[in-house]
Protein backbone atom coordinates (compact mmCIF):
# COMPACT_ATOMS: atom_id res chain seq x y z
CA UNK A 1 0.00 0.00 0.00
CA UNK A 2 1.36 3.41 -0.98
CA UNK A 3 1.76 6.21 1.52
CA UNK A 4 -1.06 8.72 1.62
CA UNK A 5 -0.50 11.83 -0.44
CA UNK A 6 -0.90 13.99 2.60
CA UNK A 7 -0.80 13.07 6.24
CA UNK A 8 -0.96 15.29 9.32
CA UNK A 9 -0.84 14.31 12.97
CA UNK A 10 -1.52 16.76 15.81
CA UNK A 11 -0.64 19.62 13.53
CA UNK A 12 -0.46 22.85 15.51
CA UNK A 13 0.19 26.44 14.53
CA UNK A 14 0.23 29.12 17.21
CA UNK A 15 0.58 32.83 16.68
CA UNK A 16 1.42 35.30 19.39
CA UNK A 17 -0.21 38.67 18.86
CA UNK A 18 -0.05 41.40 21.45
CA UNK A 19 1.30 38.96 24.04
CA UNK A 20 -1.69 36.66 23.52
CA UNK A 21 -1.44 33.17 22.04
CA UNK A 22 -3.76 32.37 19.14
CA UNK A 23 -4.18 28.66 18.36
CA UNK A 24 -4.82 29.10 14.64
CA UNK A 25 -4.57 25.37 13.96
CA UNK A 26 -4.97 23.35 17.09
CA UNK A 27 -4.19 19.68 16.58
CA UNK A 28 -5.36 18.51 13.18
CA UNK A 29 -4.83 14.86 12.21
CA UNK A 30 -6.03 13.70 8.84
CA UNK A 31 -4.96 12.03 5.62
CA UNK A 32 -5.77 12.78 2.04
CA UNK A 33 -5.21 10.18 -0.64
CA UNK A 34 -4.43 10.47 -4.30
CA UNK A 35 -7.39 11.42 -6.47
CA UNK A 36 -9.45 12.91 -3.66
CA UNK A 37 -11.40 16.14 -4.04
CA UNK A 38 -11.64 17.75 -0.61
CA UNK A 39 -13.57 20.87 0.38
CA UNK A 40 -12.52 22.60 3.57
CA UNK A 41 -15.20 24.69 5.22
CA UNK A 42 -15.57 26.67 8.40
CA UNK A 43 -16.22 30.12 9.72
CA UNK A 44 -13.84 32.95 9.12
CA UNK A 45 -10.84 32.66 11.46
CA UNK A 46 -11.33 28.93 12.00
CA UNK A 47 -7.83 28.15 10.71
CA UNK A 48 -8.50 27.02 7.12
CA UNK A 49 -5.91 29.26 5.49
CA UNK A 50 -3.32 28.54 8.13
CA UNK A 51 -3.79 24.82 7.53
CA UNK A 52 -3.57 25.23 3.75
CA UNK A 53 -0.39 27.31 4.02
CA UNK A 54 1.26 24.63 6.14
CA UNK A 55 0.34 21.74 3.86
CA UNK A 56 1.46 23.90 0.92
CA UNK A 57 4.88 24.36 2.54
CA UNK A 58 4.46 28.14 2.62
CA UNK A 59 4.34 28.22 6.38
CA UNK A 60 5.95 26.05 9.04
CA UNK A 61 3.95 24.31 11.79
CA UNK A 62 4.60 25.04 15.44
CA UNK A 63 4.47 21.31 16.11
CA UNK A 64 3.05 18.04 14.83
CA UNK A 65 3.71 15.78 11.89
CA UNK A 66 3.30 16.85 8.27
CA UNK A 67 4.08 14.38 5.50
CA UNK A 68 3.64 15.09 1.84
CA UNK A 69 4.08 12.22 -0.60
CA UNK A 70 5.80 10.33 2.21
CA UNK A 71 8.29 13.15 2.87
CA UNK A 72 8.44 14.69 6.32
CA UNK A 73 8.47 18.31 5.17
CA UNK A 74 9.44 19.60 8.59
CA UNK A 75 12.98 18.35 8.09
CA UNK A 76 13.50 20.21 4.81
CA UNK A 77 15.49 23.41 4.30
CA UNK A 78 14.21 26.43 2.40
CA UNK A 79 15.58 25.30 -0.97
CA UNK A 80 14.04 21.84 -0.61
CA UNK A 81 10.72 23.38 0.38
CA UNK A 82 10.88 25.65 -2.67
CA UNK A 83 11.39 22.59 -4.82
CA UNK A 84 8.39 20.83 -3.26
CA UNK A 85 6.23 23.89 -3.87
CA UNK A 86 7.46 23.95 -7.43
CA UNK A 87 7.13 20.26 -8.33
CA UNK A 88 4.45 18.80 -6.10
CA UNK A 89 2.08 21.62 -5.25
CA UNK A 90 -0.04 23.95 -7.33
CA UNK A 91 -1.56 27.00 -5.66
CA UNK A 92 -4.69 28.90 -6.61
CA UNK A 93 -5.43 32.05 -4.63
CA UNK A 94 -8.52 34.07 -3.99
CA UNK A 95 -6.98 37.20 -5.53
CA UNK A 96 -5.53 35.25 -8.51
CA UNK A 97 -2.07 36.70 -7.81
CA UNK A 98 -1.04 37.10 -11.42
CA UNK A 99 1.95 39.28 -12.30
CA UNK A 100 0.71 42.60 -13.63
CA UNK A 101 1.90 43.82 -17.03
CA UNK A 102 2.84 40.23 -17.85
CA UNK A 103 1.08 38.17 -20.50
CA UNK A 104 -1.05 35.15 -19.61
CA UNK A 105 1.55 32.99 -21.32
CA UNK A 106 4.43 34.39 -19.28
CA UNK A 107 2.42 34.18 -16.08
CA UNK A 108 1.74 30.50 -16.62
CA UNK A 109 5.41 29.88 -17.48
CA UNK A 110 6.74 31.32 -14.18
CA UNK A 111 6.86 28.00 -12.25
CA UNK A 112 8.73 26.42 -15.16
CA UNK A 113 11.46 29.07 -14.85
CA UNK A 114 12.13 27.83 -11.33
CA UNK A 115 11.92 24.22 -12.51
CA UNK A 116 14.87 24.97 -14.81
CA UNK A 117 12.89 24.37 -18.00
CA UNK A 118 14.28 26.05 -21.13
CA UNK A 119 12.42 28.91 -22.85
CA UNK A 120 11.03 27.01 -25.83
CA UNK A 121 9.61 24.20 -23.72
CA UNK A 122 8.27 26.72 -21.20
CA UNK A 123 6.32 28.44 -23.94
CA UNK A 124 4.97 25.24 -25.37
CA UNK A 125 3.82 23.85 -22.03
CA UNK A 126 2.30 27.14 -20.88
CA UNK A 127 0.45 27.47 -24.15
CA UNK A 128 -0.91 23.94 -23.94
CA UNK A 129 -2.21 24.58 -20.39
CA UNK A 130 -3.89 27.82 -21.41
CA UNK A 131 -5.50 26.17 -24.41
CA UNK A 132 -6.82 23.40 -22.16
CA UNK A 133 -8.41 26.17 -20.05
CA UNK A 134 -10.08 27.60 -23.16
CA UNK A 135 -7.76 30.60 -23.23
CA UNK A 136 -5.94 29.81 -26.49
CA UNK A 137 -6.98 33.18 -27.88
CA UNK A 138 -5.87 35.12 -24.81
CA UNK A 139 -2.21 34.03 -24.63
CA UNK A 140 -0.71 37.50 -24.89
CA UNK A 141 -3.31 39.36 -22.83
CA UNK A 142 -2.15 40.92 -19.60
CA UNK A 143 -4.30 40.36 -16.48
CA UNK A 144 -5.79 43.84 -16.83
CA UNK A 145 -7.32 42.74 -20.14
CA UNK A 146 -8.92 39.60 -18.68
CA UNK A 147 -12.12 39.06 -16.70
CA UNK A 148 -12.00 37.67 -13.16
CA UNK A 149 -12.98 34.21 -14.33
CA UNK A 150 -10.35 34.30 -17.09
CA UNK A 151 -7.71 35.44 -14.63
CA UNK A 152 -8.55 32.58 -12.30
CA UNK A 153 -8.32 30.15 -15.19
CA UNK A 154 -4.86 31.54 -16.01
CA UNK A 155 -3.97 30.97 -12.36
CA UNK A 156 -5.22 27.38 -12.54
CA UNK A 157 -3.19 26.81 -15.70
CA UNK A 158 -0.16 28.17 -13.85
CA UNK A 159 -0.84 25.88 -10.87
CA UNK A 160 -0.97 22.86 -13.17
CA UNK A 161 1.93 23.66 -15.47
CA UNK A 162 4.53 21.71 -13.48
CA UNK A 163 2.20 18.65 -13.22
CA UNK A 164 1.89 18.82 -9.42
CA UNK A 165 0.56 16.05 -7.20
CA UNK A 166 -1.96 18.28 -5.53
CA UNK A 167 -3.80 21.50 -6.24
CA UNK A 168 -4.46 23.75 -3.25
CA UNK A 169 -7.05 26.48 -3.68
CA UNK A 170 -7.85 28.90 -0.84
CA UNK A 171 -11.25 30.44 -1.55
CA UNK A 172 -10.69 30.36 -5.33
CA UNK A 173 -14.24 31.61 -5.99
CA UNK A 174 -14.26 34.25 -3.26
CA UNK A 175 -13.72 37.07 -5.73
CA UNK A 176 -16.01 35.74 -8.46
CA UNK A 177 -19.72 35.97 -9.19
CA UNK A 178 -21.93 32.89 -8.77
CA UNK A 179 -21.94 31.68 -12.36
CA UNK A 180 -18.17 32.09 -12.73
CA UNK A 181 -17.69 30.32 -9.40
CA UNK A 182 -19.67 27.36 -10.68
CA UNK A 183 -17.59 27.36 -13.87
CA UNK A 184 -14.40 27.22 -11.83
CA UNK A 185 -15.75 24.36 -9.72
CA UNK A 186 -16.67 22.58 -12.95
CA UNK A 187 -13.08 22.92 -14.06
CA UNK A 188 -11.89 21.50 -10.74
CA UNK A 189 -14.27 18.60 -11.07
CA UNK A 190 -13.01 17.86 -14.56
CA UNK A 191 -9.41 17.98 -13.34
CA UNK A 192 -10.32 15.63 -10.52
CA UNK A 193 -11.90 13.26 -13.02
CA UNK A 194 -8.56 13.29 -14.81
CA UNK A 195 -6.91 12.16 -11.57
CA UNK A 196 -5.68 15.37 -9.97
CA UNK A 197 -5.96 15.65 -6.19
CA UNK A 198 -7.64 18.86 -5.00
CA UNK A 199 -8.11 20.63 -1.70
CA UNK A 200 -10.39 23.65 -1.97
CA UNK A 201 -11.28 26.05 0.83
CA UNK A 202 -14.70 27.65 0.63
CA UNK A 203 -17.31 28.94 2.99
CA UNK A 204 -20.18 28.48 0.55
CA UNK A 205 -21.96 25.16 1.14
CA UNK A 206 -23.21 24.77 -2.44
CA UNK A 207 -19.69 25.30 -3.77
CA UNK A 208 -18.49 22.61 -1.36
CA UNK A 209 -20.98 20.16 -2.82
CA UNK A 210 -18.85 19.87 -5.95
CA UNK A 211 -16.22 18.10 -3.83
CA UNK A 212 -16.30 14.47 -2.82
CA UNK A 213 -15.28 14.97 0.79
CA UNK A 214 -16.03 17.79 3.16
CA UNK A 215 -13.93 18.78 6.16
CA UNK A 216 -15.23 21.44 8.53
CA UNK A 217 -12.93 23.49 10.76
CA UNK A 218 -13.85 25.31 13.94
CA UNK A 219 -11.39 27.06 16.24
CA UNK A 220 -8.46 25.34 14.62
CA UNK A 221 -9.88 21.84 14.92
CA UNK A 222 -11.62 19.49 12.51
CA UNK A 223 -15.22 19.06 13.69
CA UNK A 224 -16.63 17.26 10.67
CA UNK A 225 -15.05 15.03 8.02
CA UNK A 226 -17.38 13.13 5.74
CA UNK A 227 -18.17 12.22 2.16
CA UNK A 228 -20.42 14.60 0.27
CA UNK A 229 -23.69 12.77 -0.15
CA UNK A 230 -25.60 14.97 -2.53
CA UNK A 231 -22.70 15.62 -4.85
CA UNK A 232 -23.28 18.22 -7.55
CA UNK A 233 -22.00 17.76 -11.07
CA UNK A 234 -21.09 20.68 -13.18
CA UNK A 235 -22.99 21.04 -16.43
CA UNK A 236 -20.10 20.92 -18.80
CA UNK A 237 -20.38 23.43 -21.57
Amino acid sequence: MTAPLLETRDLIKNYVIGGEMVHAVNGVSLRIDRGEFVAIMGASGSGKSTFMNMIGCLDVPTSGVLKLDGIDTRTLNSDELAEIRNRKIGFVFQQFNLLARTSALDNVAVPLIYAGVGPAERRARAQARLEAMGLGNRLLNTPAKLSGGQQQRVAIARALVTNPLILLADEPTGALDTQTSLDIMGIFQKLNDEGITLVVVTHEPDIAEYAARRIVFRDGKVIEDEAVTSRRRAVSS
Binding site: E83, F91, N97, P119
Partner: protein, 416 residues
Protein backbone atom coordinates in the same frame (compact mmCIF):
# COMPACT_ATOMS: atom_id res chain seq x y z
CA UNK B 1 26.08 21.52 -21.62
CA UNK B 2 22.27 21.84 -21.54
CA UNK B 3 22.68 22.47 -17.84
CA UNK B 4 24.87 25.46 -18.64
CA UNK B 5 22.47 26.69 -21.33
CA UNK B 6 19.60 26.47 -18.88
CA UNK B 7 21.61 28.45 -16.33
CA UNK B 8 22.31 31.12 -18.93
CA UNK B 9 18.67 31.14 -19.92
CA UNK B 10 17.71 31.63 -16.26
CA UNK B 11 19.86 34.77 -16.16
CA UNK B 12 18.25 35.87 -19.39
CA UNK B 13 14.87 35.53 -17.67
CA UNK B 14 16.14 37.70 -14.83
CA UNK B 15 17.26 40.36 -17.30
CA UNK B 16 13.80 40.29 -18.89
CA UNK B 17 12.15 40.59 -15.46
CA UNK B 18 14.50 43.45 -14.62
CA UNK B 19 13.58 45.36 -17.77
CA UNK B 20 9.87 44.89 -17.08
CA UNK B 21 10.31 46.18 -13.54
CA UNK B 22 12.46 49.11 -14.64
CA UNK B 23 9.99 50.06 -17.34
CA UNK B 24 7.17 49.98 -14.81
CA UNK B 25 8.83 52.78 -12.85
CA UNK B 26 10.49 54.46 -15.78
CA UNK B 27 11.04 57.91 -14.26
CA UNK B 28 12.43 56.46 -11.07
CA UNK B 29 14.72 54.14 -13.01
CA UNK B 30 16.04 57.02 -15.10
CA UNK B 31 16.75 59.18 -12.06
CA UNK B 32 18.53 56.34 -10.31
CA UNK B 33 20.54 55.58 -13.40
CA UNK B 34 21.51 59.24 -13.56
CA UNK B 35 23.43 58.90 -10.29
CA UNK B 36 25.52 56.01 -11.56
CA UNK B 37 25.90 57.74 -14.90
CA UNK B 38 27.38 60.85 -13.31
CA UNK B 39 29.61 58.71 -11.11
CA UNK B 40 30.99 56.64 -13.97
CA UNK B 41 31.29 59.76 -16.10
CA UNK B 42 33.47 61.50 -13.54
CA UNK B 43 35.61 58.46 -12.79
CA UNK B 44 36.26 57.79 -16.47
CA UNK B 45 37.04 61.42 -17.11
CA UNK B 46 39.42 61.44 -14.15
CA UNK B 47 41.18 58.36 -15.48
CA UNK B 48 41.36 59.94 -18.94
CA UNK B 49 42.77 63.20 -17.63
CA UNK B 50 45.29 61.24 -15.57
CA UNK B 51 46.26 59.24 -18.64
CA UNK B 52 46.56 62.49 -20.52
CA UNK B 53 48.87 63.90 -17.89
CA UNK B 54 51.02 60.81 -18.19
CA UNK B 55 51.15 61.07 -21.96
CA UNK B 56 51.96 64.74 -21.63
CA UNK B 57 54.79 64.08 -19.20
CA UNK B 58 56.18 61.37 -21.42
CA UNK B 59 56.14 63.80 -24.33
CA UNK B 60 57.84 66.47 -22.26
CA UNK B 61 60.55 64.06 -21.24
CA UNK B 62 61.02 63.05 -24.85
CA UNK B 63 61.60 66.72 -25.67
CA UNK B 64 64.48 66.76 -23.22
CA UNK B 65 66.44 64.28 -25.26
CA UNK B 66 66.67 60.60 -24.70
CA UNK B 67 69.93 59.92 -22.86
CA UNK B 68 70.77 63.15 -21.17
CA UNK B 69 71.78 64.44 -17.78
CA UNK B 70 71.46 67.92 -16.34
CA UNK B 71 74.14 69.03 -13.87
CA UNK B 72 73.23 71.77 -11.41
CA UNK B 73 75.61 73.48 -8.96
CA UNK B 74 73.52 72.77 -5.87
CA UNK B 75 73.31 69.81 -3.48
CA UNK B 76 70.48 67.37 -3.89
CA UNK B 77 67.71 67.95 -1.43
CA UNK B 78 65.32 65.23 -0.58
CA UNK B 79 62.68 67.67 0.62
CA UNK B 80 61.76 71.05 -0.70
CA UNK B 81 63.36 73.42 -3.14
CA UNK B 82 67.04 74.45 -2.90
CA UNK B 83 67.85 77.28 -0.53
CA UNK B 84 69.67 80.40 -1.71
CA UNK B 85 72.86 79.45 0.10
CA UNK B 86 72.90 76.09 -1.61
CA UNK B 87 73.97 77.37 -4.95
CA UNK B 88 77.63 76.65 -5.64
CA UNK B 89 79.69 77.03 -8.79
CA UNK B 90 79.83 75.26 -12.08
CA UNK B 91 81.95 76.33 -15.02
CA UNK B 92 82.38 75.67 -18.70
CA UNK B 93 85.71 74.05 -17.89
CA UNK B 94 83.88 71.53 -15.66
CA UNK B 95 81.84 70.70 -18.73
CA UNK B 96 84.94 70.17 -20.81
CA UNK B 97 86.35 67.88 -18.12
CA UNK B 98 83.13 65.86 -18.07
CA UNK B 99 83.23 65.52 -21.85
CA UNK B 100 86.83 64.30 -21.68
CA UNK B 101 86.74 62.04 -18.64
CA UNK B 102 83.27 60.58 -18.12
CA UNK B 103 82.75 57.41 -20.18
CA UNK B 104 80.01 57.46 -22.80
CA UNK B 105 79.64 61.23 -22.94
CA UNK B 106 78.90 62.37 -26.48
CA UNK B 107 78.68 66.09 -25.92
CA UNK B 108 78.32 68.71 -23.20
CA UNK B 109 76.38 71.92 -23.62
CA UNK B 110 76.82 74.62 -20.99
CA UNK B 111 73.88 76.90 -20.35
CA UNK B 112 73.32 80.29 -18.88
CA UNK B 113 69.75 81.41 -18.52
CA UNK B 114 68.49 84.91 -18.11
CA UNK B 115 65.30 86.85 -18.65
CA UNK B 116 65.33 89.24 -21.58
CA UNK B 117 63.17 91.76 -23.38
CA UNK B 118 62.90 91.54 -27.17
CA UNK B 119 61.83 94.47 -29.33
CA UNK B 120 61.28 94.69 -33.06
CA UNK B 121 59.25 97.14 -35.05
CA UNK B 122 56.51 98.23 -32.68
CA UNK B 123 56.33 94.89 -30.84
CA UNK B 124 57.99 93.52 -27.79
CA UNK B 125 58.09 90.28 -25.87
CA UNK B 126 59.76 89.11 -22.71
CA UNK B 127 61.06 85.61 -22.55
CA UNK B 128 63.87 83.47 -21.28
CA UNK B 129 67.17 83.54 -23.12
CA UNK B 130 69.35 80.47 -23.06
CA UNK B 131 73.00 81.00 -23.79
CA UNK B 132 74.52 77.77 -25.03
CA UNK B 133 76.64 76.14 -27.69
CA UNK B 134 76.04 74.29 -30.95
CA UNK B 135 75.95 70.95 -29.06
CA UNK B 136 72.76 71.96 -27.26
CA UNK B 137 70.62 71.11 -30.30
CA UNK B 138 71.81 67.53 -30.61
CA UNK B 139 71.80 66.78 -26.86
CA UNK B 140 68.27 68.01 -26.24
CA UNK B 141 66.68 66.98 -29.55
CA UNK B 142 66.13 70.55 -30.65
CA UNK B 143 65.48 70.99 -34.36
CA UNK B 144 64.84 74.09 -36.41
CA UNK B 145 61.63 74.56 -38.32
CA UNK B 146 63.23 77.23 -40.46
CA UNK B 147 66.71 78.79 -40.79
CA UNK B 148 69.56 77.23 -38.86
CA UNK B 149 70.81 76.56 -35.34
CA UNK B 150 73.92 78.09 -33.73
CA UNK B 151 77.25 76.99 -35.18
CA UNK B 152 80.69 76.67 -33.64
CA UNK B 153 81.77 79.87 -35.34
CA UNK B 154 78.76 81.78 -33.90
CA UNK B 155 80.05 80.79 -30.46
CA UNK B 156 83.67 81.59 -31.29
CA UNK B 157 82.88 85.03 -32.66
CA UNK B 158 80.20 85.80 -30.07
CA UNK B 159 77.91 86.59 -32.99
CA UNK B 160 74.77 88.58 -32.29
CA UNK B 161 72.49 85.89 -33.68
CA UNK B 162 69.42 84.34 -32.12
CA UNK B 163 67.28 81.24 -32.64
CA UNK B 164 63.72 81.91 -31.48
CA UNK B 165 60.90 79.70 -30.27
CA UNK B 166 57.53 79.55 -31.98
CA UNK B 167 55.68 81.51 -29.29
CA UNK B 168 58.22 84.33 -29.43
CA UNK B 169 57.99 84.36 -33.22
CA UNK B 170 54.20 84.59 -33.04
CA UNK B 171 54.42 87.57 -30.69
CA UNK B 172 56.98 89.53 -32.68
CA UNK B 173 56.48 88.63 -36.32
CA UNK B 174 53.09 88.63 -37.92
CA UNK B 175 52.94 87.92 -41.64
CA UNK B 176 56.72 88.21 -41.78
CA UNK B 177 59.24 85.40 -42.04
CA UNK B 178 61.40 86.01 -38.97
CA UNK B 179 64.55 84.57 -40.54
CA UNK B 180 66.99 87.36 -41.26
CA UNK B 181 64.96 89.93 -39.32
CA UNK B 182 66.60 92.25 -36.82
CA UNK B 183 65.54 92.20 -33.20
CA UNK B 184 66.83 94.09 -30.16
CA UNK B 185 67.45 91.98 -27.12
CA UNK B 186 67.89 94.11 -24.02
CA UNK B 187 68.62 96.94 -26.49
CA UNK B 188 71.39 94.99 -28.26
CA UNK B 189 70.69 94.36 -31.96
CA UNK B 190 70.58 90.69 -33.03
CA UNK B 191 69.74 88.87 -36.24
CA UNK B 192 67.22 86.02 -36.18
CA UNK B 193 68.89 83.01 -37.82
CA UNK B 194 66.52 80.21 -36.93
CA UNK B 195 63.08 79.22 -35.77
CA UNK B 196 62.86 76.28 -33.35
CA UNK B 197 60.60 73.37 -34.04
CA UNK B 198 57.49 73.63 -31.89
CA UNK B 199 57.55 71.38 -28.86
CA UNK B 200 54.11 72.35 -27.68
CA UNK B 201 53.21 72.92 -24.08
CA UNK B 202 53.06 70.45 -21.26
CA UNK B 203 50.98 71.02 -18.16
CA UNK B 204 50.90 74.79 -18.66
CA UNK B 205 54.59 75.11 -19.41
CA UNK B 206 55.15 76.55 -22.89
CA UNK B 207 58.24 74.92 -24.40
CA UNK B 208 58.22 77.37 -27.30
CA UNK B 209 58.53 80.50 -25.17
CA UNK B 210 62.33 80.77 -25.27
CA UNK B 211 65.23 82.01 -27.38
CA UNK B 212 68.73 80.62 -27.81
CA UNK B 213 71.85 82.74 -28.31
CA UNK B 214 75.57 81.88 -28.28
CA UNK B 215 76.76 81.53 -24.70
CA UNK B 216 79.64 83.88 -25.44
CA UNK B 217 77.32 86.58 -26.75
CA UNK B 218 75.02 86.24 -23.78
CA UNK B 219 77.94 86.67 -21.43
CA UNK B 220 79.30 89.72 -23.16
CA UNK B 221 76.12 91.52 -24.22
CA UNK B 222 73.23 90.45 -22.03
CA UNK B 223 74.01 91.04 -18.39
CA UNK B 224 73.58 88.07 -16.12
CA UNK B 225 73.27 88.38 -12.42
CA UNK B 226 73.89 84.77 -11.44
CA UNK B 227 77.37 84.38 -12.73
CA UNK B 228 80.17 84.72 -10.17
CA UNK B 229 83.09 84.28 -12.52
CA UNK B 230 83.69 84.73 -16.25
CA UNK B 231 83.46 81.00 -16.80
CA UNK B 232 80.34 80.29 -14.68
CA UNK B 233 77.28 78.59 -16.08
CA UNK B 234 73.74 78.00 -14.80
CA UNK B 235 73.83 74.33 -15.65
CA UNK B 236 75.35 71.76 -17.96
CA UNK B 237 73.56 69.50 -20.44
CA UNK B 238 75.44 66.24 -20.87
CA UNK B 239 74.55 63.88 -23.70
CA UNK B 240 75.34 60.18 -23.37
CA UNK B 241 75.72 57.37 -25.87
CA UNK B 242 73.12 55.07 -24.33
CA UNK B 243 71.09 54.35 -21.24
CA UNK B 244 73.81 52.25 -19.54
CA UNK B 245 76.44 54.97 -19.65
CA UNK B 246 73.76 57.47 -18.59
CA UNK B 247 72.93 55.49 -15.47
CA UNK B 248 76.61 55.07 -14.61
CA UNK B 249 77.28 58.70 -15.58
CA UNK B 250 75.38 60.04 -12.57
CA UNK B 251 78.07 58.78 -10.16
CA UNK B 252 80.93 59.44 -12.55
CA UNK B 253 80.00 63.11 -12.93
CA UNK B 254 79.62 63.57 -9.18
CA UNK B 255 82.94 61.89 -8.46
CA UNK B 256 84.70 63.98 -11.07
CA UNK B 257 83.22 67.21 -9.74
CA UNK B 258 84.03 66.27 -6.11
CA UNK B 259 87.63 65.77 -7.17
CA UNK B 260 87.77 69.00 -9.14
CA UNK B 261 86.31 71.04 -6.27
CA UNK B 262 88.26 69.07 -3.64
CA UNK B 263 85.15 68.19 -1.63
CA UNK B 264 86.49 66.28 1.36
CA UNK B 265 85.22 62.85 2.19
CA UNK B 266 82.04 62.77 4.25
CA UNK B 267 80.82 66.15 3.00
CA UNK B 268 77.80 66.18 0.78
CA UNK B 269 78.22 66.64 -2.94
CA UNK B 270 77.33 70.24 -3.83
CA UNK B 271 76.07 69.14 -7.24
CA UNK B 272 72.88 67.65 -8.53
CA UNK B 273 72.79 65.34 -11.50
CA UNK B 274 69.38 64.68 -12.96
CA UNK B 275 69.13 62.12 -15.71
CA UNK B 276 66.20 61.90 -18.13
CA UNK B 277 65.63 58.40 -16.83
CA UNK B 278 65.21 59.66 -13.27
CA UNK B 279 63.04 62.56 -14.38
CA UNK B 280 60.84 60.17 -16.29
CA UNK B 281 60.48 57.96 -13.25
CA UNK B 282 59.69 60.69 -10.73
CA UNK B 283 57.35 62.49 -13.10
CA UNK B 284 55.64 59.20 -13.73
CA UNK B 285 55.13 58.77 -9.99
CA UNK B 286 53.85 62.30 -9.57
CA UNK B 287 51.32 61.94 -12.36
CA UNK B 288 50.24 58.61 -10.99
CA UNK B 289 49.54 60.23 -7.63
CA UNK B 290 47.77 63.06 -9.44
CA UNK B 291 45.63 60.52 -11.25
CA UNK B 292 44.91 58.56 -8.09
CA UNK B 293 43.74 61.71 -6.32
CA UNK B 294 41.50 62.65 -9.24
CA UNK B 295 39.99 59.19 -9.40
CA UNK B 296 39.49 59.12 -5.64
CA UNK B 297 37.55 62.38 -5.76
CA UNK B 298 35.50 61.19 -8.71
CA UNK B 299 34.79 57.91 -6.94
CA UNK B 300 32.84 59.78 -4.30
CA UNK B 301 30.18 60.60 -6.87
CA UNK B 302 30.14 56.98 -7.93
CA UNK B 303 29.65 56.00 -4.30
CA UNK B 304 26.72 58.40 -4.07
CA UNK B 305 25.32 56.85 -7.24
CA UNK B 306 25.71 53.41 -5.68
CA UNK B 307 23.87 54.49 -2.56
CA UNK B 308 21.07 55.75 -4.82
CA UNK B 309 20.90 52.27 -6.31
CA UNK B 310 20.71 50.66 -2.90
CA UNK B 311 17.98 53.07 -1.86
CA UNK B 312 15.83 52.44 -4.90
CA UNK B 313 16.34 48.69 -4.72
CA UNK B 314 15.15 48.70 -1.10
CA UNK B 315 12.05 50.59 -2.20
CA UNK B 316 11.56 48.16 -5.04
CA UNK B 317 11.84 45.14 -2.74
CA UNK B 318 9.32 46.64 -0.33
CA UNK B 319 6.87 47.47 -3.10
CA UNK B 320 7.15 44.04 -4.62
CA UNK B 321 7.02 41.97 -1.44
CA UNK B 322 3.82 40.31 -2.64
CA UNK B 323 5.42 39.44 -5.97
CA UNK B 324 8.35 37.93 -4.09
CA UNK B 325 5.93 35.85 -2.00
CA UNK B 326 4.14 34.70 -5.12
CA UNK B 327 7.37 33.69 -6.84
CA UNK B 328 8.38 31.75 -3.75
CA UNK B 329 4.98 30.02 -3.71
CA UNK B 330 5.54 29.04 -7.32
CA UNK B 331 8.92 27.52 -6.50
CA UNK B 332 11.51 30.30 -6.51
CA UNK B 333 14.44 29.50 -4.24
CA UNK B 334 16.03 32.20 -2.13
CA UNK B 335 18.89 32.34 -4.63
CA UNK B 336 16.41 32.88 -7.49
CA UNK B 337 14.91 35.91 -5.74
CA UNK B 338 18.34 37.22 -4.79
CA UNK B 339 19.60 36.89 -8.37
CA UNK B 340 16.51 38.57 -9.75
CA UNK B 341 17.14 41.71 -7.71
CA UNK B 342 20.90 41.59 -8.24
CA UNK B 343 20.37 41.49 -11.99
CA UNK B 344 17.93 44.38 -11.72
CA UNK B 345 20.49 46.49 -9.86
CA UNK B 346 23.26 45.48 -12.25
CA UNK B 347 21.13 46.33 -15.29
CA UNK B 348 20.41 49.78 -13.82
CA UNK B 349 24.10 50.32 -13.18
CA UNK B 350 25.35 49.02 -16.49
CA UNK B 351 22.92 51.21 -18.42
CA UNK B 352 24.03 54.18 -16.31
CA UNK B 353 27.67 53.19 -16.72
CA UNK B 354 27.33 52.82 -20.48
CA UNK B 355 25.77 56.25 -20.88
CA UNK B 356 28.31 57.73 -18.47
CA UNK B 357 31.10 56.21 -20.53
CA UNK B 358 29.73 57.65 -23.78
CA UNK B 359 29.38 61.10 -22.19
CA UNK B 360 32.91 60.86 -20.83
CA UNK B 361 34.20 60.02 -24.31
CA UNK B 362 32.42 63.06 -25.74
CA UNK B 363 33.73 65.27 -22.92
CA UNK B 364 37.27 63.95 -23.41
CA UNK B 365 37.10 64.69 -27.13
CA UNK B 366 35.87 68.23 -26.42
CA UNK B 367 38.55 68.66 -23.79
CA UNK B 368 41.18 67.58 -26.28
CA UNK B 369 39.92 70.05 -28.87
CA UNK B 370 39.43 73.04 -26.58
CA UNK B 371 42.24 72.66 -24.06
CA UNK B 372 44.68 70.87 -26.37
CA UNK B 373 45.20 68.33 -23.64
CA UNK B 374 45.13 64.64 -24.48
CA UNK B 375 42.56 62.66 -22.48
CA UNK B 376 42.62 59.22 -24.05
CA UNK B 377 39.95 56.64 -23.15
CA UNK B 378 41.23 53.24 -24.16
CA UNK B 379 39.24 50.08 -24.69
CA UNK B 380 40.55 48.84 -21.35
CA UNK B 381 39.17 51.90 -19.56
CA UNK B 382 35.82 51.44 -21.31
CA UNK B 383 35.54 47.77 -20.41
CA UNK B 384 36.68 48.55 -16.89
CA UNK B 385 33.94 51.18 -16.60
CA UNK B 386 31.24 48.74 -17.66
CA UNK B 387 32.55 45.98 -15.41
CA UNK B 388 32.90 48.45 -12.57
CA UNK B 389 29.33 49.67 -12.89
CA UNK B 390 28.16 46.08 -12.88
CA UNK B 391 30.11 45.51 -9.68
CA UNK B 392 28.60 48.67 -8.16
CA UNK B 393 25.22 47.15 -8.93
CA UNK B 394 26.13 43.87 -7.28
CA UNK B 395 27.63 45.54 -4.21
CA UNK B 396 24.89 48.09 -3.60
CA UNK B 397 22.13 45.86 -4.89
CA UNK B 398 23.42 43.03 -2.72
CA UNK B 399 21.88 44.04 0.56
CA UNK B 400 18.37 44.70 -0.83
CA UNK B 401 18.55 41.48 -2.86
CA UNK B 402 19.53 39.38 0.14
CA UNK B 403 16.84 41.04 2.20
CA UNK B 404 14.29 40.12 -0.44
CA UNK B 405 15.48 36.53 -0.56
CA UNK B 406 15.17 36.12 3.22
CA UNK B 407 11.49 36.98 3.32
CA UNK B 408 9.18 34.25 4.56
CA UNK B 409 6.98 33.09 1.66
CA UNK B 410 3.71 33.34 3.54
CA UNK B 411 4.42 36.70 5.12
CA UNK B 412 5.51 38.11 1.78
CA UNK B 413 2.41 36.73 0.11
CA UNK B 414 0.13 38.20 2.75
CA UNK B 415 1.63 41.69 2.57
CA UNK B 416 -0.28 44.41 0.83
Amino acid sequence: MTELLNKLAAWGVNVAIAFTALRTNLMRSILTTLGVMIGVFSVILAVAVGNGAQVSVTQQIATLGSNMAIVLPEPERANGPPRPGDRGRLTERDGEAIARQVPGVVAVAPQIRTSVQLVTGGRSASTQAIGSTESFASISNLGTADGRFLTRSDIGSAARVVVIGQTVADKLFIDVNPIGEKVRINRVPFTVIGLLESKGSNLGNDNDDQIIVPITTLRQRLSTTTAQGPDDVTLLFVGFEDEDTLVAGDREIKNLLRARYRVSKGKITPFTVRTTKEIAETSGEVTQIFQAVLVAIASISLLVGGIGIMNIMLVSVTERTREIGLRMALGAKRSDIRNQFLVEAAVLCIIGGGIGLLLAMVAAAIFQQVADFPAPIGLDTALLAIAFSGIIGLVFGGYPAIRASRLSPIEALRSE
